[in-house]
């Protein structure tokens, strides 16, 4: 019975087996999850953000636990684009959708990265991480400044013909405005939200818990914020949206589709339950069949609003 549900969606020109992807920085380079789930059970994954050169992140402590969430200040530690293309990509099954995430401190870094990644037929799309909330130079400025963001998206658009997805920062006054800017600058889709800038303190030592002082809040705690932003962005633009932020269950994922997301990403929960993404994909099918939807795509924007 559940078998009869059509789970496919098209996100920004990328055909997905199911709307369930996994979020950048929470799924490594994919291979780490081999012991726990078959990558073919999910729609695909966004790899850890890449920089042109290998980058080693912040000193410890890098993470902390908070109510229904966690803080992180990793600072985009990654093996660099070349090692990714040479070592990580070939290790993945051919039919796994891989979206590459780009990070840089200058628009030209992003453009170079996008161009290089676009040479690989294994890359289904490019996600611009313009929103890393804890790196002074880079992320946060791009994602928070309309002019910088528009310029960044245009530069990357010119550099790559791949489906282009911009991942937005939640640390802004008007998310809808940022979404519009990306759309007019040529983005094919949007991902939101990245972690919310936050802080935690240890009262015993009287010091910030994170070496970086500030970090990004993620996990179920931020889900209602992410859902609101996806809802607002979906009403502001026509390009498809991938919802991310605190998704822990199939019901959570359904909420994002109802609010207008075409796909979703599972993030922090992968750490706690490395099988979560596959369970969520299965649970969405059960929800759809229980509710009489023939296609998961029919859930997109299917929120019923009180008529007033």
């Amino acid at each position: 019975m559940t078998a009869s549900i059509d789970t496919r969606v098209d996100f920004a020109g990328i055909p997905l087996r199911t709307p369930v992807l996994t979020a950048s920085g929470t799924f490594g380079y994919g291979t780490e999850f081999a012991p726990f789930l078959d990558l073919r059970e999910i729609g695909g994954f966004v790899a850890k953000s890449l920089t042109l050169l290998p980058r080693s992140g912040n000193p410890p402590p890098r993470i902390a636990e908070t109510p229904s969430g966690m803080l992180n200040a990793i600072s985009i530690e990654n093996i660099g684009v070349e090692a990714f293309l040479a070592e990580k990509l070939p290790a993945l099954p051919a039919d796994v959708v891989v979206i590459a995430s780009c990070f840089g401190t200058d628009p030209s870094d992003y453009a170079k990265l996008a161009a290089r990644l676009s040479e690989s037929s294994r890359i289904a799309g490019i996600e611009i991480n313009a929103s890393c909330p804890h790196v002074k130079s880079g992320g946060i400025e791009f994602g928070q400044d309309p002019i910088l963001l528009a310029d960044l998206v245009r530069r990357v658009r010119d550099a790559s013909a791949k489906p282009l997805i911009v991942k937005l920062s939640p640390n802004v006054t008007r998310i809808g405005e940022m979404a519009e800017i990306c759309q007019s600058a040529g983005a094919d889709g949007l991902t939101l939200i990245n972690a919310v800038q936050a802080m935690e303190v240890d009262v015993e030592t009287r010091r910030p818990v994170l070496w970086n002082v500030l970090g990004g809040l993620s996990g179920p705690a931020i889900r209602p914020i992410a859902l609101r932003m996806v809802w607002q962005a979906a009403r502001a633009v026509d390009i498809p949206i991938c919802g991310v932020g605190g998704i822990a269950t199939a019901e959570d994922a359904v909420k994002f589709l109802l609010c207008g997301a075409t796909a979703i990403q599972v993030g922090t929960i992968n750490y706690i339950n490395p099988q979560a993404a596959a369970e969520i994909a299965q649970g969405m099918v059960e929800y759809a069949s229980r509710k009489g939807f023939a296609r998961l795509a029919d859930l997109i924007g299917a929120l019923i609003l009180p008529e007033r």
Binding site: S56, G57, I272, N273, P274, Q275
Partner: protein, 281 residues
């Protein structure tokens, strides 16, 4: 850094049954789990355990699982589940909730994780130095050392007698056992490193291995004592962890020569000389 030993595994995710979970002096607890499909583990590996028993509905606070050493793994009886013991200190939010788990309840586990200790051989002069909860990482190693016929001395330290974990178990292994407590309530009056120092006074070679697990200052002191006498020193590090299997990058520690190493994946076992001690949290 080349890992001391290829990692064991592959890890599994399981809903383990609590067989026993009782207090053992101070705030130390012994948790015995029955785990289906357990692939077996090597000395020094660990588990990620949910912060408290699984309830009717999943609660998102506390959110993260807790890393815990596999204290002792019991040979599986026929095709039944494996019996795994964990010794832990009920200190913070998660472990205090874990201490409330009742027999018959379930806890989520992911493991075995991390790399194991380079095994001692018959020619090894092994000093296993454990401080506080670090003791829990050493029992399987001690058992292995005895089995290999290594000359094995176990040195365990804690604040006070009640805080000393697993002393009886180590005793039953028939190893030479030195105890140290900061209040002198049992063993020598002082730190476990004070018990180690005299043992390393004679210059020793690389067949002498100091295996240390405990508070960072203790492990650092062990590595210095070992270095002075020419012995090899292997440590088991701790760090905050979200995943335990190498994807969150949260557990990174600085290593000699620059860059970071993931305690959950490249560690928790390290050659003391590879660790950039001054950079540890």
């Amino acid at each position: 850094m080349s890992p001391p030993k290829p990692e064991c595994g592959p890890p599994i995710r399981a809903l383990a049954e609590v067989l026993e979970n009782h207090r053992e002096g101070g705030s130390n607890h012994r948790l015995t789990l029955a785990i289906e499909g357990w692939p077996g583990a090597e000395p020094g590996q660990f588990l990620m355990i949910s912060a408290g028993a699984v309830t009717a509905v999943d609660r998102t606070d506390p959110l993260l699982p807790r890393p815990m050493a596999i204290y002792r793994g019991h040979a599986r009886v026929g095709s039944g589940p494996a019996r795994i013991e964990v010794l832990y200190k009920a200190s913070g939010r998660g472990t205090r909730l874990l201490a409330e788990a009742l027999p018959g309840q379930r806890v989520r586990v992911v493991g075995p994780l991390g790399r194991s200790f380079p095994p001692p051989t018959a020619s090894t002069r092994a000093f296993l130095v454990g401080g506080g909860t670090g003791i829990a990482s050493l029992f399987e190693l001690a058992a292995r050392a005895v089995a290999e016929g290594a000359a094995t001395r176990v040195l365990l330290g804690a604040r006070t007698a009640a805080d000393l974990m697993g002393v009886g178990d180590f005793g039953r292994l028939g190893v030479e056992l030195d105890l140290a407590t900061e209040d002198g309530s049992v063993g020598i009056h002082g730190r476990v490193t004070d018990a180690l120092r005299p043992r390393l006074e004679q210059p020793s070679d690389r067949h002498t291995i100091v295996y240390a697990c405990g508070p960072t200052p203790m492990m650092r002191a062990c590595s210095e004592l070992a270095a002075q006498s020419g012995a090899r020193c292997i440590v088991s590090l701790e760090n905050n962890m979200a995943c335990g299997f190498g994807v969150c990058l949260g557990c990174a520690v600085p290593v000699v020569g620059g860059g970071f190493s993931l305690v959950c994946r490249a560690g928790p076992i390290y050659e003391a000389g590879d660790v950039a001690w001054q950079g540890l949290p």
